[in-house]
Symmetry: C2
Subunit: 206 residues, 2 copies
C-alpha cells in the first residue's frame, strides 16, 4: 500500500494552517448547500457567507463555481475510494466486480441526489479552463475501476473498455439525475457495459 498522495498534490504554495482551514470550510459549505438544492443552491455569496470568508477570497481559492464544485467532487471521490477499498467486490469476473463497485457508488450517490446533481452537472459543464481538475477526477475514477477489476496489468483493450465504462457511467448518471432514466435502467446500462471487460479479459472463461 504505497502513497495515494499524487492525487491531491497542490504544488502551488503549501498553504498555511489557517488557509487549509479556510479551504476546508469552503468545501464543507459547498457540499452542504449542494446537498440541499443541488447545483442552483450553491450560490457563491452563500458559500462565502456560510464558510466565513469574503467573496473575493472564495474566488481566490476557487476561480469559478465550476472549479469549486469539481473540487468538491474530488473531495468526495477520494472519500468514496477509501470506503470502497475497505470492502472489495465479490464478483467472479473483473466485469462483475466493476459493475458491483459502480453500483455501490451509485447507491451512495442516491443517498445525496442533490449533491450528486451539483457535482455531475459541474463536471460535464466544465470547459477547458477546468481541464486539469476534471482530468484529476477522471483519473481517480479510473483508479477506482482498475482497483475493482483486480487485474494488475490491464491490457490495452481493457483500458479502452475502462474508458468506455467511464463514459457510460457519467452519461448514465446524467440521464438519471435529469429524470430521463430510472435507477433500474442505470443498473442495466452499467451491467451491459461492464461485460466489455470480460470480453477482453484473458483469464475469464467464456
Amino acid at each position: 500500500m504505497e502513497k495515494v498522495e499524487a492525487a491531491t498534490a497542490r504544488p502551488a504554495s503549501p498553504l498555511t494552517e489557517r488557509q487549509e482551514a479556510r479551504r476546508r470550510r469552503i468545501l464543507r459549505a459547498s457540499a452542504q448547500l449542494a446537498g440541499r438544492g443541488g447545483f442552483d443552491a450553491v450560490q457563491m455569496r452563500e458559500v462565502a457567507e456560510s464558510s466565513q470568508v469574503a467573496l473575493g477570497t472564495l474566488y481566490r481559492y476557487f476561480p469559478s463555481k465550476i472549479h469549486l464544485l469539481v473540487a468538491t467532487m474530488q473531495d468526495q471521490l477520494e472519500h468514496m475510494h477509501g470506503t470502497l477499498r475497505k470492502r472489495p467486490p465479490a464478483g467472479e469476473t473483473p466485469g462483475e466486480r466493476v459493475a458491483e463497485t459502480l453500483m455501490r457508488a451509485f447507491r451512495a450517490l442516491q443517498r445525496e441526489p442533490h449533491l450528486a446533481d451539483a457535482m455531475v452537472r459541474a463536471l460535464t459543464f466544465a470547459d477547458r479552463s477546468v481541464s486539469p481538475e476534471v482530468d484529476q477526477v477522471s483519473r481517480q475514477t479510473t483508479a477506482i475501476i482498475l482497483d475493482a477489476m483486480g487485474r494488475e496489468h490491464p491490457t490495452p483493450a481493457q483500458l479502452s473498455a475502462v474508458r468506455v465504462i467511464e463514459h457510460t457511467w457519467h452519461s448514465a448518471l446524467i440521464t438519471w439525475l435529469s429524470g430521463r432514466a430510472s435507477i433500474a435502467q442505470v443498473k442495466v446500462d452499467i451491467e451491459t457495459v461492464c461485460r466489455l471487460i470480460d470480453l477482453t479479459d484473458p483469464e475469464t472463461p467464456r
Copy 2:
C-alpha cells in the same frame, strides 16, 4: 416536399406563418452565434436582436437558453439524419456500420466545433425542465444508430448496447470538446463500444 412533422411535433397551437418564420429566424441566429463562439457566444439579447424579435418574445418561444440550444440541436440532428441516410454505411457488421456512421457525424461536428460545443453543453447541462426536449434528441440519436445497424428487429440486448453507445457518444464528445481527449481517442472509444453490438448480434459470425 412534404412535411417532416412528427419529429418536431409541437402539439400546442399550430403557429401561424409569421410565427413559424420567427421561430426559424431565432434558430438560425442561435446556430450562427453558436457557430462563432460556442455556448457563451449565444447571448439571449444578441439572439433576440439578431433575429429581430423582442427579448420577451424570444423567451416565449424558448423558455430558457438551454431550451433554445437543445431545440437548435434537434434542428441540426434532423438535418444530419437526412444527410446520413443518403449514403448508408458500408461496414460488414452492424457494429462497424454504426461506428462508421458515428464517425461521419463526428467529422461533421468537427467542421463546426463551436456549434457542437454549444449544443452538447446545453444537452448535458439541461435539467428536468428540459427533459421532453432532451428525450426527443435522444430518440433521434437512437433512430440514427438503429438505422445504421440495419437490423429490423433489434434484440433487447442490442437495445441495451445502443443505449451504452449513446452514453459513450455523448461523453466522448464532451471530453473532446473540453480538450481532454484527441480525435483519435474518440475514434477508439467509439469503435470499442460499437463492438458491443456485434457481440450480441445473432447473425454476425464471430
